[in-house]
């Protein structure tokens, strides 16, 4: 008697073996999925490690002018007026007046004046930095190196990510540099980008999904091309932005039409319009998918009650698609936050100490700063680049968390 009839299903021993084989096959796939997840986790961990490793660690600095020649007590113990007095005595009158003009010394904080004394009078220079791993595991080697190369230098453990780093404007020296202008620039950029891209993107998605006739070839071509646009390299959008927003529309984007006189076309509005263009396809595609996912039974129910198309869309389609639209927009906006190439092409400033204060001001952004700092030869700039990356990641996380919280609130309200 054979184990199975010809052309039929296996029985007995053959069936057991068949089942075992199917389970083995499943297990192999499961192992692959696990491996894939692990690779992802390893990649992310390596990324974070690499950044944190640079953002903290020992640094050695040398003072060009010894503290003892300036003050008989350590600088840390001096009060604000005493520090001002040192500054007044040791730097030229012109330089002192210039600083006073920027912000009167009477209104400057002690920390601010302290930083100025260290920068201008003591002229402290970072001579070498070490990574966090080295700092934690190999202190003896660091000290030996230091004694040999820079016998005068002082060793200090430093977190490059400090409150000062967040609140200081740019500086040509890594130790005094901060990302305030870059954070503000990025926030402005993102806010305006969202304001431009979201209404246009969602509007286009609604039209394509709810109004346009999918049967006609022209609409199919439009949809296919929007999908393709989502894959166009960002630098291409940068070139487009440069040609249109910065150059052709300079009268508008520089603010000249609105009476702004001190800028050219390389402004926040130009960058935001470029970014909006860049993420528009993503938003349209994602919003369209979200709208498509709204069950047709809801539309039918609404129409069956004598609702117009607009009433149906506004009351049922949009609220139900909103979580999906938000998810897609979060992804798109996250991309815009980190985008560097188009900003470089349209000419965002790399060194700027003034806060951006409107649509038509010059600006810099976090990715620009990071890019700029990583390309400097001095090692300590890579440390602050790592700190800036941490800031960028934190900012991304905060924005995403807000958006996800918002989305969850919307979806809870619906069901």
């Amino acid at each position: 008697m054979s184990a199975h009839t010809p052309g039929g299903l296996p029985e007995g021993q053959a069936a057991t073996e068949n089942l075992r084989g199917r389970h083995r096959f499943g297990l192999a796939w499961q192992a692959w999925f696990l491996l894939a997840t692990c690779i992802g986790i390893i990649g992310l961990t390596a990324l974070l490690y690499n950044i944190v490793d640079r953002a903290f660690g020992y640094m050695a600095y040398e003072d060009k002018v010894a503290v003892a020649t300036v003050s008989d007590r350590p600088l840390d113990e001096l009060s604000q007026p005493e520090l001002v007095a040192i500054l007044q005595k040791k730097i030229s009158k012109g330089a002192f007046n210039k600083l006073d003009k920027e912000q009167p010394f009477t209104s400057r904080s002690r920390d601010d004046v302290y930083a100025l004394v260290v920068e201008r009078v003591i002229q402290r220079k970072v001579v070498e930095t070490w990574s966090l791993t080295e700092s934690l595991t190999n202190r003896a080697k660091i000290e030996a190196e230091l004694a040999e190369d820079h016998p005068q230098a002082t060793l200090e453990f430093r977190s490059w990510l400090t409150v000062g780093f967040l609140t200081n404007p740019m500086s040509s020296q890594a130790e005094y540099a901060g990302v305030r202008t870059a954070i503000l620039g990025s926030l402005w950029l993102i806010a305006i980008t969202i304001l431009i891209a979201l209404p246009i993107g969602v509007g286009a998605a609604i039209y394509l999904q709810e109004y346009a006739d999918h049967g006609t070839w022209i609409n199919r071509i439009i949809e296919t091309n929007i999908y393709n646009l989502a894959g166009v390299p960002s630098i291409v959008y940068g070139i487009l932005g440069l040609a249109i927003f910065v150059r052709a529309l300079e009268a508008f984007s520089s603010g000249a039409l609105f009476g702004v006189t001190d800028s050219n076309g390389r402004t926040i509005i130009s960058a935001a319009m470029t970014m909006a263009l860049l993420i528009l396809p993503l938003i349209i595609v994602n919003a369209q998918e979200a709208i498509k996912a709204v069950p047709d039974s809801l539309r039918q129910a609404a129409y069956g009650l004598g609702a117009t198309k607009w009433q149906t869309i506004w009351s049922h389609v949009l609220p139900n698609a909103l979580p999906g639209i938000l998810t897609g927009s979060i992804l798109a906006v996250s991309r815009a936050i980190g985008e560097t190439a188009p900003l470089i092409v349209i000419g965002a400033s790399t060194f700027i100490t003034v806060d951006p204060d409107g649509l038509f001001s010059k600006f810099t952004a976090l990715p620009i700063q990071i890019y700029n700092w990583t390309s400097r030869p001095q090692g300590e700039f890579r440390n602050i680049a790592a700190a800036a990356i941490l800031v960028l990641l934190l900012m991304l996380l905060t924005l995403n968390a807000t958006a996800i919280g918002l989305r969850n609130r919307f979806s809870r309200r619906l069901y």
Binding site: G215, S297, L298, Q300, A301, G304, L305, G306, N320, Y415
Partner: protein, 277 residues
């Protein structure tokens, strides 16, 4: 210029409830989906305040006819109708008729309960609000209560009007959909297999409700369930595919009693006696 159906609606209540009063009528109705013909030459007179059942095997166009009455077929791309559907002497497919107005006068209950993902209260009040309901909060509250009572749901949900419509059972959801429909006071209610997703007890409740509803509304129901058609309807339309084509047509339309006991057409007899279909 829209079809002003609202003026004739008030006539309805002064028409002494004459039983031969026709609520809606199709004349030589043919329906196409693109090149495909779905319905061939249907002429029906649906009487006011009666329950008319449409029965027949799958794919013979029962739902297509039902959806033609309130112009829901307009949403199917390529769908078009020839012939007339007359309501108070006006052709609902005339170019000057706004389908939105048609759907407000001819309500619809769907096969699967499809409440809005909103509160029970909003499920009822939304239809009224979008149709320009005038009145204060109290009036709207009264409308919601009246509609829920009308659908025999009030006692079950009066303490949880702010809960989601999805928190109800399937049968309750379907009655919520009926309540939602009567909240905009249509003249005719179309029901597309309203009990096919429900258990027998929920089905029974809906059937009892239909008997109540027919005092005020004309009901047209499509059903797969012949017992249901026999139980609830006053008149029955039997549909079949038209001779050698894939287009459906009505082969017999008569009192339900006649259809189920002394059908004139042999095919009807075979179908209702369970010999096929």
């Amino acid at each position: 210029m829209g079809l002003n159906l609202s003026t004739v609606v008030s006539d309805r209540h002064s028409s002494n409830g004459a039983t031969d009063n026709v609520a809606i009528e199709t004349r030589g109705l043919h329906i196409y989906y693109g090149a495909f013909k779905a319905i061939h030459d249907v002429s029906l007179k649906i009487k006011s305040r009666e329950i008319t059942a449409i029965i027949g095997p799958s794919g013979c166009g029962k739902s297509t006819i039902l959806r033609a009455f309130n112009r829901m077929n307009d949403f199917v791309s390529g769908a078009r109708a020839e012939g007339e559907i007359l309501m108070h002497g006006r052709n609902l497919y005339a170019p000057e008729v706004d389908p939105v107005e048609v759907r407000r006068r001819i309500g619809m209950v769907f096969q699967k309960p499809n409440p809005f993902p909103k509160s029970i209260y909003e499920n009822i009040s939304w239809g009224a609000r979008i149709n320009g309901f005038r009145g204060n909060k109290g009036d709207l509250d009264a409308l919601v209560e009246r509609s829920l009572r009308g659908a025999a749901l009030w006692e079950e949900v009066k303490d949880k009007l702010n809960q989601s419509g999805y928190s109800l059972s399937g049968g309750q959801q379907q009655r919520l959909c009926i309540a939602r429909t009567i909240a905009i006071s249509p003249e005719i209610i179309l029901m597309d297999e309203p009990c096919s997703a429900l258990d027998p007890i929920a089905t029974l409740k809906i059937e009892e409700l239909m008997q109540e509803l027919k005092k005020d509304y004309t009901i047209i129901i499509v059903t797969h369930n012949m017992q249901q058609a026999a139980r609830v309807s006053d008149r029955t339309a039997m549909m079949m595919l038209y001779e050698g084509t894939r287009a459906g047509t009505v082969i017999e339309f008569d009192d339900t009693n006649t259809i189920f006991t002394r059908p004139k057409d042999k095919r009807t007899e075979d179908y209702v006696s369970g010999r096929f279909g």
